[in-house]
C-alpha cells in the first residue's frame, strides 16, 4: 500500500430520507491509483453514497474529506438530453474542458485573501468567456481516439446507442484530467466484449495516469478482477476488503448467493450474519467442501476465466 494522501475519505456516513435509513455508518478511503468498487443489491444506497462523496447531497451525519482542490471526473449512470438541443458529441465533450475550481466545504486554509478572491471572481468569468476558442482541444481528440469514438464526434448526441453513450460519458469524465474518477455503473448497456474492453481501459489509465477510481457495479465478475478494494453495501457496510476475501465471506454469499455465475441471479437476504457485521472486514475463509462457492473460482485473480471474456 502506498503512503499517499487519500483523494477522498468518508467517515461514519449516515443518511436518512425521512424515516428511512439509507446508509448507516459507512466509511471508506480512496488513494491515487486505487480502484474501489461499491456493490450491493438495488436500493442498497450505492448511488446515494456516491452522491454524498461527490458533494451533491449532504449526509445526515458523518464527514467527507476531499483532498483540497480535488478534480473529479464523474460519469453519471444515465443522461437524458432533450431532442430540441442541437448538440454534437464533439461539442458535448468540449463542454467538459472547462473545469471550474471545485467548490467544496473544505476550503484550503488559510483562505484566499479578499482582494485576490475578488480579482478572481471578476476576472475568471471574463477570461473564460473570451477564451472559448483557446482551450486545448487536443485532449478531446486524444481521448476520443483512445475510446474509439472518433467516428461519432459529428453525430447528434441524442442519436448514439447506449453502449456508445457509455464511452462518450467516460470520455467526458476523463477530459477534465481528473484525479478521481467516479463511475456510476460504467458498463451498463454495454455488450460483453465492450465491457471487457472498457474495464481494461479503466485499469490501464489508472496505472498510466494514477487516477483513483471509485465505481458502482452490479457486475461481480469482471470488476472483481481489477479492483483493489470492494465495499459490499446493503444500507450498512455488509462486508469489505480485498476482492477475493469479500467474495468468499459468508455475508457476501448470503447477499448475492453462491451461484453468481449468472449475474442477474442474486437474491437479497437479510440474514443474521449480515446484520451484525457493520464495517467489519471479513477475511476468514469459509468454504464448504461439499459445495464450493462458484464465485471463488471465477474471481480468483490468477485463474483464467472459463467464460473466455478475459484474455
Amino acid at each position: 500500500m502506498q503512503i499517499t494522501t487519500p483523494l477522498i475519505e468518508a467517515h461514519n456516513i449516515n443518511q436518512k430520507f425521512g424515516d428511512a435509513t439509507v446508509l448507516k455508518e459507512i466509511s471508506l478511503t480512496l488513494h491515487p491509483k486505487e480502484i474501489v468498487t461499491l456493490i450491493g443489491p438495488n436500493g442498497a444506497g450505492k448511488s446515494t453514497l456516491l452522491k454524498i462523496l461527490l458533494g451533491l447531497i449532504e449526509p445526515t451525519a458523518g464527514q467527507v474529506i476531499r483532498k483540497p482542490g480535488l478534480r473529479i471526473g464523474f460519469m453519471p449512470q444515465k443522461i437524458q438530453i432533450d431532442a430540441t438541443l442541437p448538440m454534437s458529441v464533439e461539442r458535448f465533450l468540449k463542454l467538459g474542458l472547462r473545469q471550474h475550481p471545485v467548490r467544496s466545504e473544505m476550503e484550503p486554509w488559510p483562505p484566499t485573501p479578499f482582494l485576490t478572491s475578488l480579482k478572481n471572481r471578476l476576472l475568471t468569468p471574463l477570461k473564460m468567456f473570451f477564451s472559448t476558442a483557446k482551450y486545448d482541444t487536443t485532449t478531446v481528440y486524444k481521448i476520443a481516439e483512445e475510446l474509439n469514438i472518433q467516428t461519432l464526434l459529428q453525430q447528434p448526441i441524442q442519436k448514439v446507442s447506449g453502449g456508445e453513450m457509455q464511452r462518450i460519458l467516460l470520455a467526458r469524465a476523463l477530459i477534465g484530467e481528473p484525479e478521481l474518477l467516479v463511475l456510476d455503473e460504467p458498463v451498463q448497456g454495454v455488450d460483453l466484449q465492450g465491457q471487457t474492453e472498457l474495464y481494461q481501459y479503466i485499469n490501464r489509465i489508472r496505472h498510466e495516469r494514477g487516477y483513483g477510481i471509485l465505481m458502482v457495479s452490479h457486475d461481480l465478475h469482471i470488476v472483481m478482477k481489477n479492483t483493489d478494494y470492494v465495499l459490499c453495501l446493503n444500507q450498512h457496510m455488509c462486508c469489505s476488503g480485498l476482492p477475493q476475501n469479500v467474495s468468499e465471506s459468508p455475508e457476501f454469499q448470503a447477499l448475492f448467493g453462491t451461484h453468481t455465475e449468472s449475474i442477474a441471479f442474486y437474491e437479497h437476504h437479510h440474514d443474521k450474519t449480515c446484520e451484525h457485521t457493520h464495517g467489519q472486514p471479513h477475511i476468514e475463509r469459509t468454504q464448504d467442501p461439499q459445495k464450493p462457492p462458484g464465485l471463488v473460482e471465477s474471481s480468483n485473480l490468477k485463474t483464467p476465466r472459463k467464460s473466455g471474456k478475459e484474455k
Partner: protein, 263 residues
C-alpha cells in the same frame, strides 16, 4: 383601431426588444422542458395586476415584484420538495389565476379591461416599458456572456455540472428570475395567456435550422423579430388583435419549418 405614429414606434421598438430578449430565455425553456414553468409565471402575473390595482401601486412594477416572488417560490419548492413539478406548477398557475380574478372582481370601483391583460395591448407600451426592456436586455446579455456554457452544461445534466464545479443552484435561480422579469414585461404585449408562446414558438421553430446551440439562439432571435414585425403588420392591415397576430405568425413560421428536414 386608431394608430398614432408614436404608439406605433413604441410598439415596434418594444416588440422587437422583447423578441430579442425572449430568445435566449426561450431556447433554454425549450431545452429544459420548462414551458409549463413559463405559463405558471405568466398566470401569476395576472395576480400581480390585481394586487397592483388593489394596493393602487404602479402596475408594471407590482407585476414584476409578484412574478419574481412566485419564480423564487417555485424555485425553492422545487429544491426541497419531491413533488411532481408538473402538479406543483399546475396548482400554482391556476390558483394564482383564480385569486387574481377574484381580487379584481372584488374591486367594484375599478373598471379595467381584463382582455387587455389576458391577450395583450401593445399600444399601451410607454417609455418606462422601453427602459425596462432595455435594462433587462442588458442584464440578460451580461448573464449569458458569463454563464452560457454553464447553462448548457447544467441543461445537459445537473449533477455532472455540479461535480464539474458549476454553482448550479445559483445560476438556475438567476435564470429563473430573468425569466420572471421577461414574462412580467411581455404580458403587456402578448398578454398573460400568450406569453409563453413568445418564448417557445420561435425557439422551437429555430430547431430545424440549427446544428449548434448558438445557431439556434441566433435563429430564434431572427424568427422572433420576423414574427413581431409581420404580426404588427397583419394587426395593422387586417385590424387583428396584436398579441394573437404575433403568435399566429410565429406559429405559421414554426409549421413551415416543420416541413423542413432537420440538419
Amino acid at each position: 383601431m386608431e394608430w398614432f405614429p408614436s404608439f406605433m414606434t413604441f410598439a415596434i421598438i418594444g416588440g422587437l426588444g422583447l423578441a430579442i430578449i425572449s430568445a435566449p430565455l426561450g431556447v433554454f425553456v425549450v431545452w429544459q422542458r420548462q414551458s409549463y414553468f413559463g405559463a405558471t409565471l405568466a398566470h401569476s402575473a395576472l395576480l400581480g395586476v390585481s394586487i397592483g390595482l388593489f394596493l393602487e401601486t404602479d402596475l408594471t412594477l407590482t407585476v414584476i415584484a409578484v412574478s419574481l416572488f412566485v419564480a423564487w417560490g417555485i424555485f425553492r419548492l422545487g429544491q426541497y420538495r419531491e413533488l411532481s413539478s408538473d402538479t406543483l406548477l399546475g396548482i400554482l398557475a391556476h390558483s394564482s389565476l383564480a385569486f387574481g380574478l377574484i381580487l379584481i372582481s372584488l374591486q367594484d370601483n375599478v373598471q379595467i379591461d381584463l382582455m387587455g391583460y389576458l391577450f395583450g395591448d401593445i399600444l399601451s407600451i410607454n417609455e418606462t416599458d422601453l427602459f425596462l426592456i432595455t435594462g433587462i436586455g442588458l442584464l440578460i446579455l451580461i448573464f449569458y456572456r458569463i454563464h452560457w456554457e454553464d447553462l448548457l452544461n447544467l441543461t445537459l445534466n445537473h449533477e455532472l455540472a455540479q461535480v464539474e464545479g458549476i454553482n448550479v443552484k445559483r445560476i438556475q435561480l438567476q435564470y429563473v428570475l430573468l425569466l420572471a422579469l421577461m414574462i412580467a414585461l411581455s404580458m403587456k404585449i402578448v398578454g398573460v395567456l400568450l406569453v409563453t408562446s413568445l418564448l417557445i414558438i420561435p425557439a422551437a421553430a429555430a430547431r430545424r435550422l440549427s446544428s449548434t446551440p448558438e445557431k439556434m439562439l441566433f435563429m430564434s432571435i431572427l424568427l422572433g423579430i420576423v414574427s413581431v414585425l409581420l404580426g404588427l403588420l397583419a394587426s395593422y392591415l387586417a385590424d387583428l388583435p396584436t398579441g394573437p397576430a404575433i403568435v399566429m405568425v410565429a406559429t405559421f413560421l414554426f409549421l413551415a419549418l416543420l416541413m423542413k428536414k432537420a440538419p
